[in-house]
Symmetry: C2
Subunit: 345 residues, 2 copies
């Protein structure tokens, strides 16, 4: 099953490579290697996609690589040995854009190199199997959030950081492998920082929780904000209108930036355009941040199979911030993953 | 205080840059940026070290960057604007080796670029303030390990993954910010994988725990193995002999690879050389893996102020693995951080 899906992914990429006359594609990103081989490196590893793809794994990873990889694994000895082996077959070598410069340098004398997004493009379109895993991760994360009962934790003056940790424990209890990113569970004025860190302090009024689970390697992502004052409620309503309309606007064939515009225009109309300080959403899958994004500049055409977050927010420095985030799977329209209400009571 | 230390680091690097005729040094690694500015990015950021250093932060990070950075912060608008601003002052641009190729590409038309390890070299020599933080992280991690009481968890048939999570909870309770890496708490044959993942299964005979805490941004790292059979004890004794002798051999002025040789030679003498499948140690600090390493190839001269792990191991595939790891701070000789015995009873 794994091998079938991996081979499907590999064949798609090989076709694109052949169209552009590349004989090899060098990958070092762990998620990229997992995506096409099922082996998730725990130490450095290099994969070369080619007619007969091969992974050069570190000695300490050979046992796990041999057990899990659906493609050939060799032990990495040195760059010079690797280059000597590849030089016969490869003249034009594609590399992933995230490859470290120092790795690129090792290969730049012996190959004609250019960076290509073949694999990111492929990873953007999820198979039904991948979407099922993201669905499951979402289900686990949302069940954990409901059972955490954040409102009662505020009443009992629980700390932000211990509550965030408790949420992680529940996600594991419900079958998750762990967090898909460090949980943001913050309150009071810290909510105006989009990526705030939970502190050892009692949960205050206005609570923002941004969290996700990992299930079988795949991520979920949600944010809920619990508001307490009239002003907070007013801001929440604007963010919700932005969130709802952006999701309604999603369909295959239009550009990602058009969705960002829908979300941003609503917030701007209410006069908070300069307080909306990030993009409207990012794709997710094996990684929590993948491409394409619902950003002002991303002109990628939306396609069926994409899984992207929608997360408008308004951030009032020194006062508070509100964000509402759901992840959607796109078919003819956007399907919101999970069933957690936007308003937590 | 922070500003003083950051300025000290910056001035050292500026001197090296000037010696090699660089007018700028481009950094994107979060820990590198934190190291010289005290600001830890939560989204992308670029720092250019130069006469008047500057950080280009993402819009969503402007509040936290302005609050924490000891050097000037600007909002990142685009690479073209950034390049236009820098072009007047900089002709030769150094970049960190880990910079993504796609970022390098943005700058390669307008600057003469080469990768340099200035900052990694500087980060290898810890100030007393940094060592105090690593000491504290170690103290927290070891106290949590003792109080976890892994031996009784085995008796009560606790799961590996929930026990690992409990250890993380204790490290937070004792003042740690969290794990310095995903805790490895595994048992039985999984111990033969150096980077095994804890599973929802009862803790079995032979238990390996590799864990660390973070304190004020700084990492700790330790491994203990609890053995049960005669064969396991025999392997443990070899690993301990290797560990103890390697630590005794550490002193300023000799090469890092000489320490790896001391550790590896002992294991080889007992006939397990091919079962020692990783390096003897790595530096740590803001990151869990820093340079230099006690590896077969690292010819870096050991200096006072380095903080490096010593962690020989023997891995018998399908059977079990043993690793013993301590972190040492190097002055005239190696001082083992913390006071946790090698043998846990």
């Amino acid at each position: 099953m794994n091998k079938e899906i991996n081979d499907f992914h590999i064949n798609n990429i090989l076709k694109e490579m052949s169209d552009k006359d590349y004989q090899g594609y060098l990958l070092a990103d762990f998620s990229n290697i997992k995506y096409i081989s099922n082996y998730m490196p725990t130490s450095f590893a290099f994969c070369v996609l080619k007619e007969n793809p091969v992974i050069y794994a570190s000695k300490m990873d050979m046992e796990i690589a041999n057990k899990t990889s659906t493609i050939e694994v060799k032990e990495f000895e040195s760059f010079s040995e690797m280059i000597a082996e590849l030089k016969g077959e490869i003249k034009n070598l594609a590399i992933e854009p995230s490859l470290e410069y120092s790795t690129y340098e090792k290969f730049s004398d012996d190959f004609k190199i250019a960076s290509e997004i073949f694999i990111n493009k492929q990873r953007a379109i999820k198979t039904s199997d991948e979407i099922a895993k993201i669905d499951k991760a979402t289900e686990i994360a949302q069940k954990a959030f409901v059972d955490l009962d954040i409102l009662s934790l505020r009443e009992s003056k629980s700390f932000e950081n211990t509550s965030a940790y408790e949420l992680g424990g529940l996600m594991r209890e419900y079958g998750g492998e762990g967090e898909s990113f460090d949980t943001i569970l913050v309150s009071g004025s810290a909510t105006s920082l989009p990526h705030a860190v939970p502190k050892p302090k009692a949960i205050d009024d206005i609570i923002l929780v941004d969290w996700g689970a990992k299930y079988d390697g795949y991520c979920s992502d949600n944010t809920r904000t619990m508001v307490y004052s009239e002003k907070q409620q007013e801001i929440f309503d604007i963010v919700k209108e932005s969130h709802d309309n952006a999701i309604k606007a999603i369909k295959p064939g239009i550009k990602c930036c058009e969705i960002d515009k829908v979300a941003r225009d609503i917030i701007s109309e209410y006069g908070y355009g300069d307080k909306y300080i990030h993009s409207t959403g990012h794709s997710l899958g094996l990684d929590i941040h993948e491409t394409p994004s619902f950003s002002t500049k991303d002109e990628t055409i939306i396609e069926k199979g994409m899984v992207i977050t929608v997360e408008p927010g308004i951030y009032l420095e020194g006062d508070f911030g509100v964000r509402l985030e759901d992840t959607v799977a796109i078919d003819n329209k956007a399907r919101i993953l999970g069933n957690l209400p936007a308003i937590i009571e």
